[in-house]
């Protein structure tokens, strides 16, 4: 089995504050990996280091064996890394369809084309409709993103990431703000992605984490505390103490 | 040689002080309140005209006019904020630019109508004219006065904005008006006060600047670049930034003109481009 993502001693600090400290993580291709930990543990920071939104203080990032530490965010995307944001980061003035077509054009390379109209890009448009249908966004296709309720904007957030057909998908609390029933549907869609897609997700909803993750890393104070299968994590008293507390159904 | 370097430095700092004085009002309205107010120069001009009028018609001494100018222009600013500016806080920067350019055009035409297109004279009191010579260095009295005024203003403003609850409430209101109001901050009142502060300072800057910059109806357009430069290079959202930027610009401009006069206007633009290339958000920029 090949490694999809590997980090070596990845660290990030601001002034004296260490948000990520020496994180070495390795995900095999096809992993369904959850990253959990207390608020402010450094999970989002870690994703930002992986995607290149933040520059690490030290350490390296490898994607499919290639060192990408110094690549710009969009160059990492070109190599198969896609993400969602913890707080919606969308195109408020574009319609849902436009947003998704735009994302697909970026992936397919059509976005450089300036002498043909968008309406002529049949392949991209069909793909967009398929994606929208899968996420049940098709009936909102023509609405400007800004007019969608929060929960449905979360779906657009995911649609944009999926449009990149990523090899590595990074999800930062994808189900936040979505009713429990529907959030598991979202996870079904995500889980239904091809097996060679590697997924790393952050989530505070333990129902979802324990249902969908095959392995879990617990981050505390910027450092990995432990890593293991859901059962191992649920049983770990240290994790209970700093993070889970007395969750009834775990 | 040493005296000439010192002299140049002094002149540069003094010139920077003047730049800061006429721009500080803008770093309140634009830097802190995030309103791109290109009409800043119009308020400064109004301050200048008021100062001249008070001196000529009412025979007031120069220094005594300054507090009056501050108050009067602050009131004008408050009135305009209530009636016009407040409708544009939500608008894009572009709309604000256009609106305030429109106001500037109107102000220029109105000033021409009232005062004619000519320069206005200003007579400084005797103790502010001429030079003093401590230790063989020639120091202009008015320039010393400018430096002192700037030091005081900067410090006071900085403390007001960074250390007081009022300052925090201003910043909160600017960051997110809905959230601020929803948490009980009287956003409208805070904005009108802050805006009045900014315009009042603009007025004082205009009055203090006449002696060096002159005063005619095209003032707001002529010096617009300078105000913008100072605030943009300094970075929005702080008082320190523009102060530092103004001093840098002042010193470089003066030194450039003294040592390499051939470089002319390029020094100031060159410096600006270099600084903005390295600090795209300004020296003390607000993080996105």
């Amino acid at each position: 089995m090949t490694t999809a993502l590997r980090t070596e001693g990845l660290s990030k600090s601001w002034g004296g504050f260490v948000a990520n400290s020496q994180i070495s993580l390795s995900l095999p291709k096809g992993a369904r990996h959850a990253l959990i930990g207390p608020n402010g543990a450094g999970k989002s920071t870690f994703i930002n280091l992986l995607t290149g939104v933040l520059a690490p203080s030290s350490g390296e990032v490898f994607l499919m064996g290639e060192r990408v530490t110094h690549l710009a965010p969009h160059e990492r995307v070109k190599r198969g890394m896609a993400r969602t944001f913890q707080i919606n980061t969308l195109f408020p003035g574009l319609t849902v369809l436009e947003s998704v077509v735009l994302a697909i054009c970026e992936r397919s390379g059509a976005a450089r084309i300036w002498h043909r109209t968008v309406a002529g890009r049949r392949a991209e448009i069909d793909e967009a409709w398929d994606l929208l249908a899968r996420l049940h966004l098709d009936r909102d296709a023509d609405r400007p993103t800004r007019s969608l309720p929060y929960g449905r904007q979360r779906l657009v957030e995911i649609a944009l990431a999926l449009a990149a057909r990523p090899k590595l998908l990074l999800l930062d609390e994808p189900a936040a703000g979505i009713p429990t029933g529907e959030s598991s549907e979202i996870f079904d869609v995500i889980a239904g992605l091809p097996d060679d897609v590697t997924i790393l997700f952050i989530e505070h909803d333990m129902d979802l984490v324990f249902r969908f993750a095959r392995r879990i890393t617990v981050l505390v104070g910027g450092k990995p505390l432990t890593e293991g299968t859901p059962d191992e994590i649920a049983a770990d008293p240290r994790v209970r103490e700093v993070y889970l507390g007395e969750l009834p159904h775990v | 040689m040493a005296a000439s370097v010192l002299g140049v430095l002094f002149d540069g700092v003094a010139y920077g002080s003047l730049l800061f004085l006429i721009s500080v009002g803008l770093s309140v309205t634009m830097g802190l309140m995030n309103f791109v107010n290109l009409a800043h120069g119009a308020f400064a001009m109004a301050g200048g005209y008021l100062c001249v009028a008070l001196m000529q018609r009412a025979g007031m001494p120069f220094l005594a006019t300054l507090p009056l100018v501050f108050l009067a222009i602050a009131l004008v600013g408050a009135a305009l904020e209530r009636t016009l500016y407040r409708r544009l806080y939500d608008a894009s920067h572009l709309d604000q630019v256009l609106f305030s350019i429109g106001l500037t055009f109107m102000a220029v035409a109105a000033a021409t109508y009232v005062w004619g297109p000519n320069q206005q004279p200003v007579r400084l009191p005797g103790f502010l004219r001429g030079q003093i010579h401590p230790g063989g260095v020639d120091l202009g009295a008015y320039r010393l006065f400018l430096i002192g005024l700037v030091a005081a203003t900067t410090l006071a403003l900085h403390l007001l904005m960074a250390k007081t609850r009022f300052g925090a409430r201003v910043r909160a209101s600017v960051d997110n008006r809905a959230a601020a109001a929803g948490l009980g901050i009287p956003v409208d009142r805070i904005f009108v006060l802050t805006f009045a502060l900014g315009t009042g300072l603009a007025g004082v800057g205009g009055a203090v600047g006449i002696d060096v910059l002159g005063l005619d109806p095209t003032f707001p357009i002529k010096y617009m670049v300078y105000f913008l430069l100072v605030v943009a290079i300094g970075g929005a959202g702080s008082i320190k930034g523009p102060a530092l930027a103004a001093l840098l610009l002042g010193v470089f401009d003066v030194a450039g003109k003294y040592y390499v006069p051939e470089a002319g206007a390029f020094i100031i633009y060159g410096l600006m481009l270099t600084l903005l290339a390295f600090f795209p958000r300004g020296l003390y920029g607000r993080k996105a």
Binding site: L102, A111, W114 | M30, V97, I101, M106, F266, G285
Partner: protein, 346 residues
């Protein structure tokens, strides 16, 4: 398979209608290039104007040129979100390039026009690298500063540009070797109209293309664009250079039709007026640029004729009024109004 999500709360009645997305429907609301009747009517106006107002052809061609210039600003501002206070730098560069060619023995207009556009694009390249880095405010200042810098440079290089005295004494050969540039401005008008129309078609195609869509994406949220894999800065550089070339073409047209280039072609005043025109018409819709240019120059002509001394006052008032009451300019206001009326009818 999943069961469908519940319908979201309906804000407007149209949401209740669930449409099956047929192949035609599927692209109906994406940027396309179909030519509408309204557009044809629009472009007939300048043609009719040629016959209806023979005494105003100079004004007409200046409107067309300003329209082209505004179009160029609309590309970067209305679509890519870069506000510029120094766009005259490229206009002036184009004007001087074309003017210098014409005054140094190269009289053919079309190649001069191309040279103007190319020169502007060339200087825009390094400038754009600086501009795209910054934020709103930084860009405002950088463009302003660059504009000033170009102005000073042209002033300094008086030996080449003529400095404040301007560049005169250029000679323009007849268009296609046939049509002389006459005192009545007929050739100038038709020449400008032709160039504007062709370049407009180009812009129209560009903004409806995937590239154009990606620009809108950048304007809406450049952070997200980067995380979709878009090379944001490179895209902005491309459109900036294209826009500069258009501005250069506009400048070249002006140089050729007036046979004079002054420092004012690089001035802040010109950049500011350009901004006003565009906003008056409405940004991000191409036609706004053309309508704004026409309105501005007509208003300037009429107001300056009525009240030469204080017309600036009225111009200022107009601007303030547009921003306060007709956000989105003439076209934006019209669209809003149309929306209201349609809404009422339902």
């Amino acid at each position: 398979m999943l069961r469908p999500f519940p319908t979201p709360a309906a804000v407007s009645p149209e949401e209740d209608v669930i449409r099956p997305a047929g192949p035609c429907e599927r692209i109906a609301r994406l940027p396309a290039d179909r030519w509408t009747l309204r557009e044809t009517a629009f472009w007939l106006m300048p043609v009719l104007g040629y016959f209806a107002f023979p005494g105003y052809l100079m004004l007409g061609s200046q409107i067309l040129i300003a329209g082209l210039f505004a179009l160029s600003l609309d590309l970067i501002m209305g679509y890519a979100g870069i506000v510029s206070l120094g766009h005259a730098a490229f206009f002036g560069t184009g004007a001087y390039a074309a003017g210098l060619l014409a005054s140094h023995g190269w009289h053919e207009p079309l190649s001069g026009l191309l040279a103007g556009a190319a020169a502007a694009a060339l200087v825009a390249l390094p400038v754009s690298l600086l501009v795209v880095r910054g934020q709103d405010l930084g860009r405002l200042i950088v463009t302003l500063g660059i504009g000033m810098l170009f102005f000073e440079a042209a002033n300094k290089a008086a030996a080449i540009t003529g400095g404040v005295d301007g560049l005169s004494g250029m000679e323009i050969a007849p268009l296609f070797g046939l049509f002389d540039f006459d005192l009545f401005g007929r050739t100038a008008y038709l020449y400008s109209l032709g160039v504007l129309f062709l370049l407009f078609l180009l812009c129209r195609r560009l903004v409806h293309s995937p590239f154009g869509l990606s620009l809108r994406g950048i304007k809406e949220n450049s952070k997200r664009m980067a995380s979709l894999g878009a090379p944001v800065e490179r895209r902005l550089v491309s459109v900036f250079v294209i826009a500069a070339a258009l501005a250069g073409a506009a400048g070249a047209l002006l140089a050729q039709t007036t046979r004079f280039v002054g420092l004012d072609s690089l001035s802040f005043q010109r950049s500011a007026e350009l901004l006003i025109m565009l906003v008056l018409g409405g940004t991000g819709r191409l036609y706004g640029a053309l309508i704004g240019a026409a309105l501005f120059l007509l208003a300037q002509d009429i107001l300056a004729g009525l009240d030469p001394v204080y017309w600036q006052f009225w111009l200022g008032l107009m601007l303030v009024a547009v921003v306060l009451y007709a956000r989105g300019g003439v076209l934006g206001g019209a669209a809003l109004l149309a929306g209201r009326i349609r809404g009422k009818r339902r």
